[in-house]
């Protein structure tokens, strides 16, 4: 199949279907309501399930109920909606069910604004809901990458029996780009007999299954948390994804940036190169697991005198960058978080001012 021009939000909805997920529940919120609008006619066409829930709280649990039956299911929302879903996300992680959540971030806190933002980095990577859980978080920098990440998210959620989050910003949802839906990213749902609550009759063993996150016995709860921890450690070993840019050069500054922001940084890096200034970049594609080693190695390069975390937030990812740079060089933050995307010129100025 060739490329077609699609708006990010619609492409994300279609990617769910192409990944083999025919169940979608959601509640409208800007800047991602087009996903629900698109799937409201597309799901019936393919014999799938579309339901507009009464709130993101309810949608979170519709996802949980469906996921607990072992059916592929996903939802999309934006920041305030994800806050409301966070209770369910914690339960889903605790009960070890696979599900896919897409957050097309807008500015916060509170009602914030409706323009692009990356201010939910902490929420996505460090919790959001209560308890010791993590999400596998992928951050697309283009519509094409959003499609691929959505398609990859379902088998990953099943591999770990854990929620996966696609963390995009408003621009990813709103912009139009040519996309294709890679055939090789289609996948079959994995086996679920030993855990899913889809009726005892479906299982040869006839043993009943329970989906729960309650462990009143402290030893059992600790055990469950150790199982989760082992999965998160395995993610760190097997799922780290990142893209280096201009890291073969003798850069004096290393940028760490993701999503839409990293595209602006890339333009700035190209322009600076024309001026004779080399800047390297690590673009995390997974935010959890974070490319810890890649950032450390890149910051350890002899030529590198500083790492800059550039993000559309008031400084969230910078804490991970600092952690990974491990004192190899100073770490600074630059960003904006009102809905404006910093321009290449701004980034170039920041780089120049840090070189002088």
């Amino acid at each position: 199949m060739g490329k077609i021009l699609m708006k990010g939000n619609e492409a994300i909805g279609e990617a769910g279907i192409r990944a083999g997920c025919l169940n979608y529940f959601a509640y409208p919120i800007t800047p991602q309501s087009e996903v629900a609008e698109y799937l409201s006619h597309r799901m019936p066409e393919v014999g799938g399930v579309f339901l507009q829930g009464e709130s993101e709280v309810a949608v979170g649990y519709m996802i949980f109920g469906a996921a607990a039956c072992g059916e592929r299911v996903f939802t999309t929302s934006s920041s305030p909606g994800i806050s409301l879903m966070s209770e369910a996300i914690s339960y889903i992680a605790g009960a070890q069910c696979p599900a896919v959540f897409v957050n097309i971030m807008r500015g916060g806190p509170g009602l914030g604004g409706i323009l692009p933002s990356q201010a939910d980095y902490f929420q996505a990577t460090k919790g959001g809901g209560h308890g010791d859980y993590r999400l596998l978080v992928m951050a697309p920098a283009s519509v094409q990458e959003a499609v691929e990440m959505v398609m990859m998210a379902f088998p990953l959620a099943e591999k770990y029996r854990n929620p996966v989050m696609i963390l995009g910003d408003g621009l990813i949802g709103q912009m139009m780009e040519p996309v294709e839906f890679p055939e090789n990213l289609k996948s079959e749902p994995s086996k679920k007999d030993d855990w899913a609550t889809n009726g005892m009759d479906t299982r040869k063993s006839k043993k009943r299954n329970l989906v729960k996150s309650l462990f009143l016995d402290p030893v059992k709860l600790n055990e469950n948390n150790l199982i989760l921890k082992e999965k998160y450690e395995r993610m760190k070993r097997e799922e780290v994804r990142f893209e280096p840019y201009n890291t073969d050069s003798d850069y004096r500054i290393l940028i760490v940036s993701y999503g839409t922001m990293s595209r602006v940084c890339r333009t700035a890096i190209d322009n600076l190169k024309a001026e004779g200034i080399d800047v390297g970049m690590i673009r995390p594609q997974t935010l959890f697991p974070f490319p810890e080693d890649a950032v450390f190695q890149a910051a350890s390069k002899k030529s590198c005198g500083m790492a800059l975390s550039i993000e559309m937030s008031m400084g969230q990812m910078v804490e991970d960058v600092e952690r990974c740079v491990h004192g190899k060089c100073p770490v600074k933050w630059y960003g904006k978080c009102g809905g404006e995307v910093p321009t290449p010129e701004e980034i170039m100025d920041v780089v120049r001012s840090n070189l002088s």
């Binding site: 169940n23 529940f25 399930v49 339901l51 829930g53 009464e54 709130s55 709280v57 309810a58 949608v59 979170g60 649990y61 519709m62 996802i63 949980f64 109920g65 469906a66 996921a67 607990a68 039956c69 059916e71 299911v73 209770e87 369910a88 339960y91 009960a95 609550t197 889809n198 009726g199 005892m200 009759d201 006839k206 009943r208 299954n209 329970l210 989906v211 729960k212 996150s213 309650l214």
Partner: protein, 254 residues
């Protein structure tokens, strides 16, 4: 003569953690008997609430999910939408359903979701130690209404069955009780009808059960039954508030 009173297959052998005189156990048994009689254990998924019945899954022998506080109807919606062939019920207390989960139950009922809810109204938060519920009676003392529920301050107790019956979407809504044998017989019939409507794909079905919580009412089991009969039942009147009417094809609905 063979055994006439035996444990339903759908009920596990585990001893329950419920207090003496608590009617949660009776309600469990009725649900289990109905599931046996309908022969649906192999395709049933129950949803446990957060409340004293949080461990309900230990007392049944079929698939179970455990919800967050109040969210069971949303989970049931998720299951029924993706697996309409499964039989799904939520089992919820009055704090769970009528307070924190009021939004979820109203919208599930209004969408006409094809699952069944068993609603245990014991006029108090049992599990957390007897705080006021939306169903606590005027003047009833609880640990958070130590001078009795003041309706001028917190309003009147909510009649959930009547509230749900006011929705325009077809549904089966009934209030029964499990405090005495004479009520229990009718309650079981209602639970069976509710599951039958679900299996036929007819409508949302809801059985409220006026229940006891002797522990948090500060009464003996016998006193609790008396109080429920004299105070709760006159306010929470028993009976059918709504049924889906004639079935398609013209035959009379029950």
């Amino acid at each position: 003569m063979g055994k006439t009173f035996k444990r339903p297959e759908a009920l596990s052998e585990m001893d329950s953690h419920y207090c003496p005189g608590c009617t949660h156990g009776v309600a469990h048994r009725l649900v289990a008997e109905v599931i046996d009689e309908l022969g649906i254990g192999g395709r049933t998924v129950g949803i446990a609430p957060v409340g004293c019945a949080v461990l309900a899954y230990n007392y049944f022998t079929f698939d179970f999910q455990e919800a967050a506080h109040g969210r069971a109807p949303a989970m049931a919606t998720g299951i029924k939408r993706v697996r309409p062939d499964l039989v799904v019920f939520t089992y919820q207390g009055d704090g769970d359903l009528a307070s924190i989960g009021m939004g979820e139950i109203i919208h599930a009922a209004n969408r006409g979701e094809k699952f069944t809810t068993v609603f245990i109204n014991n006029a108090v938060y049992g599990m957390t130690g007897g705080q006021m519920a939306p169903t606590t009676m005027p003047g009833q003392r609880t640990t958070t209404s130590p001078f009795g529920r003041d309706v001028k301050d917190v309003g009147m107790p909510i009649k959930v069955s009547e509230l749900l019956a006011s929705l325009q979407t077809p549904a089966y809504i009934t209030r029964q009780s499990v405090i005495k044998p004479k009520y229990i017989v009718k309650a079981k019939k209602a639970i069976k009808t509710a599951f039958e409507y679900q299996i036929e794909g007819r409508c949302f079905s809801f059985v409220e059960l006026v229940s006891t919580c002797p522990t948090n009412w500060g009464l003996t089991p016998v006193e609790a039954v008396k109080w429920a009969e004299e105070t709760l039942i006159p306010y929470y009147s028993l009976g059918e508030f709504k049924n889906p009417g004639k079935a398609e094809g013209g035959s009379d609905a029950k």
